[in-house]
Every structure is written in C-alpha cells, then in structure tokens.
C-alpha cells in the first residue's frame, strides 16, 4: 500500500515545513497554537508518505551537484519515524508555554530530516551542523548552570566530529572529485576514516560517547525526549548508507552494547542511565551495519525505528517524573506508584520493549540484528549482544521502574498532587501503543525496511529463549537487589579527560610554566643574559691567553731555536774546523776529477 504512494514524482522537503513552522510559531496564539504544534509534524508525516522515489531538488554549485531530496527505501524508513516521533514529541511538549523549546526542537527535527534526505556530503554536512546547533539550544533552555556547562562541552565535542567529517569530505573530493553520499568507494582510506570518525562521534561510539549522557542528563525534559531520538539515529542512518559491511563496526557495536550496560549499573541519575542504554542499543545498530548482510541492515534499520519509539517513551516517562517531582536521582526517588500510576505503566511498557520482551517492539527488531550475527557465524557477537540484552532488561526494565515507583513505601518528599499533564500522558500513550502494536504486528515494520524480509521472530524456540533469558535475569535482579541500591555516586567516564584532566592541565599550566615565567623569563637579564655574557667573556679570555698568545710566542721561540741550531753547524768560529772543511772539499773535488778522467 505504502509503495504505491511513492510511485509519483512529487517532492517537497519536509525539513522546510519544520523550519517554516518554527518561524511562524511565535505569531500563533491561544488554542490555535496547540493545533499548530500538532498540525506541522502531522503534515510532515503525510508529506513524507507522498514523496516520490528518486533524486529531487538538485542544484549545481561550482561544478558539484547538490541533492537535497534523495528518496529511497533506506531514507524513507528514517523519514517516517522521524516525522512520527516529531508528532509524539511535540504533543509531549505542548504544555510548555515557551515557544523557544518547540522552535529549537523543530529546527532539530528538520535538520535530521535534511541529513536523511541528503544525497551529497555537502548538504549532509550543512544539516549535520544544524543538528548540533539546534540541539544545544535544547540543553541550554534548561537554564541551569549545569546545563550551560554541559551545552558548551556538547558543542566542543560535536565541533570536533563535524570538523573531522568536513576534512573527510575535502579529502574525498580531492581524491575522487565526487561528493555523492553513498557507499564509500574503494581506495579512499583517509577520507573514509575521517568521515567515519565524524559519524561514530554522533553515534556515541566509545570513546567518543561521553557527550551523550552529559547532554541528555542536563537538557530540558522535552528536549531530552527529542534528543534521544534524532542525533544517534541520524548517525546510524549515515553509517548504514556509507559504511555497510565495514567489519570494524562489528566489534565497535558489541563494545558499545556492553559499555552502556556496565555504566548503567554505576549510574544514579535516571536520564543518564537511559542515556547509557541509548549507547547500548545503538551498539546493536552499529554492529548490524558492520555485519552488512541484508538481514543485518534490515535489523539495524528496524531497531532504529523501534528504538526511537520505546526510548522516547522511557525518556517521556522519566521526564514526567522529573517534571512532577523535580528530582532525577534514583537515590532521591521511590514509592511513586500510588501517585503516578499511568506514568509507571507507560514506562514499564517502554522498559519491556527495550528489553525485547515478546509482543513488544524491541523483540521484533533486536532479534533481527542478533539473528544476522548468528547467520553470519559470528557466534561471539551473537552471545555478547544477548548478554547485553539481559543487562538492558536488568536496568531499564527492572531498575528504572523499581527504584522510581517502588523501593520505598512513600516517596521521601512531598508526593506530587497529580500526575503529568494530559498531553504528556497522551504522548506516552501513543508511543506505548506503537510499541505494542509493532511488537504484535511486525509485518507493518518489515514492509518498510530497505530489503525484502525473510525473517519470522515468533518461533517457539525464540519466544521460549527470550522468556528464559529475561525472566531469569529478573530472578538475578531480585536476588541481588541489595547490590543495586542507588547511592549518590557517579561513575567516571571518558569525559573526565575534558572535565577533570583539563582542570589538572590548567592547574599544571598555572603552576609550572607560570612559575618558570615569573622566576626565569621575567628576570631574563639576570637568569639567562648575564650568565651567558660571563661565559662568553671567560671563553674569549681563555682563547686570548692560550690560543692567540700561545701561537705567537710559540712561533718566535721556534725561530730562535732553529737559528741557534744553524749557527752551531754553519759558523762554529774555530780555524781548525774551517781548514778541515776546506780540505775535505778539495779532496772531494780531486777525486771527482780523477774519476771523470778514468771513464
């Protein structure tokens, strides 16, 4: 059915809809505003349903072809989910009276759609930077000291990634003369690495991941709901487009999946815990892209689709708790089940979906990636990804609901009088509906995937294995519950290097080079110039005495010695020696004459 809608040649860029909507929003008031906020993302979803396959909106710039609208099966899946998510997110943020948040969020969604539909690296880069600029606003709009700092760190890290991408694009252009955004051509190693680093940073692959929990834990409640959906998934899309089948991505993805799980144990902040699970879940997608078979690419795409829904659902649930109680730490929460039951149910649905419980959306997508690993005979990858999936349930399915809604009889603070506003609950309800709907009807999702799907998640063996894995994880959780009691601690991560080590570096600069400056440089004449001059004068006086004087005196002395010696031989001064000399000469002459006469 969907196929036939895309047969035409219609194209209008959905990003433009969001950008225009963001500009008009401040002028719309009252109930019209509420309708407008829902209408714009809804219109974009309908628009995407009618986009025709092919390349649209192409411009020639300096001999390069810029394509703003490349529509194919891979870009469409991401465009669908980005638009669907924008409806849910906008509804969730409907009660926020401040327009700037929705404007920033729409700019952010538009940038993500721009990246998705970009057919060349230049327009990709343009929207890629747009993602950063708009999303940092969602962090800053929180308005706290902490979010201000986190936002600046976010910008610095992403600028690095963006520059790496740009450098890669330049190298690619000079080597091949082509900036079409497609599978990376052979023999452009440097360009491929630079571009990949740019993509991997946005996909939050360790060690380039610490920006994610940092920023998502500090953003506004609505902002983090948007942010958890777009940046990393745009990166997954670009990786799937350019680097499908690059083997390095398999170990990277598996490391991500486990890294997020380990750090989630250490985390005390609800949204930071969920952030680490984004890293873990994106790990499955990155690994799927690395495996690169049709099944694995399908799995990565399907997982991105399902992930956006359940992860935003989790962020919405936790965000509602933060909005209602003003608290985000597990150690300060608990006992809310009486006061926020609906939020609990929705969050639990998100938790069951991310844990890949049968009949929830994660089950039909995550298992495709893992099945891709098994079918490619990557047993180690399959096992480790399954291990990470147990860890996901442990935290997101069990730890998050348990320590927010139970653990205590009553909350350790004045309980919230009522649950989150209706629009938040409605947004969570829609996301929860899609989580269960897709889990029970995988064919709808499978029909959108880039390649034809020959996969059946609901086999007796698979369902049984999943239930065993997850429910025995639950057994382990309740047996080790004491170990997991939240404490007001944080786990150090690689952001230590730019948060703490940079402080040490500054302290080092203040102490060592600055001390050298005050003691040495500022008294340069005393510390360096004078000793040097003294040394110079000592050297020249040695030279004068030893070398110059020695040479002249020595020469005079030897002339004197030589003349004395010669005088002894040539002018002895006694008559007998002169006579003896003369006679010897005469005798020699006579003997010579005789010898000549004889011969």
């Amino acid at each position: 059915m969907i196929e036939s809608l895309h047969a035409g040649n219609f194209f209008f860029h959905p990003a433009l809809l969001f950008f225009l909507g963001a500009c008009i929003l401040p002028f719309v008031k009252g109930w019209g505003r509420n309708i407008f906020i829902i209408a714009v993302p809804l219109a974009s979803l309908i628009l995407v349903l009618f986009l025709g396959y092919g390349a649209h909106w192409q411009v020639q710039v300096g001999g390069m072809e810029i394509t703003f609208g490349r529509v194919d099966r891979l870009s469409l899946v991401f465009a669908y989910i980005f638009c669907l998510m924008s409806i849910i997110g906008s509804l969730y943020g409907l009660h926020v009276k401040e327009n700037r948040q929705t404007m920033a969020a729409w700019g952010y969604v538009g940038s993500a759609l721009g990246c998705t539909l970009a057919g060349d690296y230049l327009s990709l880069f343009f929207f890629w930077e747009g993602l950063m600029v708009t999303s940092v606003c969602l962090v800053w709009l929180r308005g706290t000291e902490e979010s201000l700092r986190a936002g600046f760190r976010y910008i610095l890290v992403h600028t690095f990634g963006g520059l790496s991408l740009l450098a890669g694009i330049f190298v690619l252009y000079f080597q091949t003369g082509d900036i079409t955004f497609g599978p990376m051509p052979e023999g452009v190693t440097l360009a491929a690495w630079l571009i990949m680093i740019g993509f991997l940073l946005n996909a939050a692959v360790p060690p380039l991941h610490a920006w994610l929990p940092d920023a998502y834990g500090s953003a506004t409640v609505v902002g983090s709901v948007f942010m958890c959906a777009y940046t990393t998934k745009t990166a997954v899309y670009t990786l799937a487009r350019a680097f499908a089948g690059f083997d390095i991505l398999i170990p990277l993805g598996v490391i991500m999946a486990l890294y997020g799980v380990v750090y989630a144990v250490l985390e005390n902040d609800t949204r930071r815990l969920l952030s680490y699970h984004i890293i873990s879940q994106v790990g499955y997608m990155v690994a799927g892209v690395g495996i690169g078979t049709e099944m694995a690419i399908n799995g990565a795409t399907a997982h991105a689709f399902a992930h956006i829904l359940y992860k935003s659902l989790l962020f919405m649930g936790v965000g509602s708790v933060i909005a209602a109680t003003g608290r985000s730490k597990f150690s300060e929460l608990g006992g809310l089940w009486k006061y926020m039951p609906w939020t609990f149910v929705f969050t639990l649905i998100g938790g069951l979906s991310i844990s890949a419980f049968p009949f929830f959306s994660g089950f039909i997508s995550k298992s495709m990636v893992i099945a891709g690993a098994w079918e490619d005979h990557l047993t180690w990858a399959g096992l480790l990804l399954t291990l990470a999936s147990a860890g996901t349930f442990l935290h997101t399915g069990l730890k998050v609901p348990y320590f927010i809604w139970f653990n205590r009889e009553e909350p350790p603070f004045d309980p919230p009088e009522k649950e989150a506003p209706w629009n938040m609950l409605a947004a969570m309800g829609i996301a929860a509906y899609f989580c269960i709907m897709l889990g029970c009807n995988p064919q709808y999702l499978y029909a959108m995937l880039p390649y034809p799907v020959d996969y059946q998640p609901y086999t007796a063996t698979h369902v049984m294995a999943s239930y065993q894995l997850l429910l025995f994880t639950m057994l382990g959780f309740f047996l080790l519950l004491k170990q997991l009691k939240p404490k007001p601690l944080i786990g150090l991560d690689v952001d230590w290097f730019y948060r703490r080590a940079s402080v040490y570096f500054m302290a080092f600069c203040r102490n060592v080079p600055a001390a050298i400056d005050t003691v040495v440089i500022s008294r340069l004449h005393a510390t360096v110039a004078l000793p040097l001059l003294r040394l110079g004068s000592r050297l020249s006086s040695w030279n004068d005495i030893r070398v110059v004087d020695g040479l002249i005196d020595g020469a005079a002395n030897s002339v004197l010695r030589f003349s004395r010696y010669m005088r002894c031989i040539a002018q002895p001064g006694s008559l007998s020696k002169y006579l003896a000399g003369m006679l010897t000469f005469l005798a020699g002459t006579v003997m010579a004459a005789v010898a000549l006469a004889l011969y």
Binding site: W374, A460, T461, M464, Q468, F472, G476, M506, R510
Partner: protein, 94 residues
Amino acid sequence: MIIVRLITWLRSHMLLVKIVSISVLVLLVVGDLLIPRHRPHFIGDIIPGFWAGFGFLACVLIIIISKWLGTAFLFRPDTYYGADEKGPQEGAGK
C-alpha cells in the same frame, strides 16, 4: 484507579506473587524440553534451559563486574565535577 488497586492487591499478597513467579520460571525450563527445535544456530539452542542459565549468569556477572569496576576505579561522589569546575575558573578570574 484500577492500576493502584491492582498493585495494592499484589503487594498485600507477596507470597502468592512469589509462588506464581517461581512456578513460571520452573515451567519455562520444563517447557523448553518439549518445544520443537528447528534451525539451531548455536549449541545453546539445543540444550534445554541454556538461555535460562545464561540470563541468570549474565545478570549476576554484569552486576558483580560493574560494581567491582565502580568501587575499584570509577566511583566518585556526585558532587565531584561541580566543585572542581567552578574552583579554577573563579581562581583564574582573580
């Protein structure tokens, strides 16, 4: 609120909940002996109850290893960055 009533009822019948949960776990392993197996990818797909053991061990290992990493190297008080990031900047201003 039906959800609140349901949770209250479950909480007041904890023993029942525990018995049901444990019997579900037992049934899962017993049921694994009975179901047909096709296209096993891995030895674990053939041994009944393999994934049950795997899930339990995975959970225990993840908790123990992460906790050990945390206490040995990574844990800091949650005010760790706050104090430090301000300190030097104020110092630099003076």
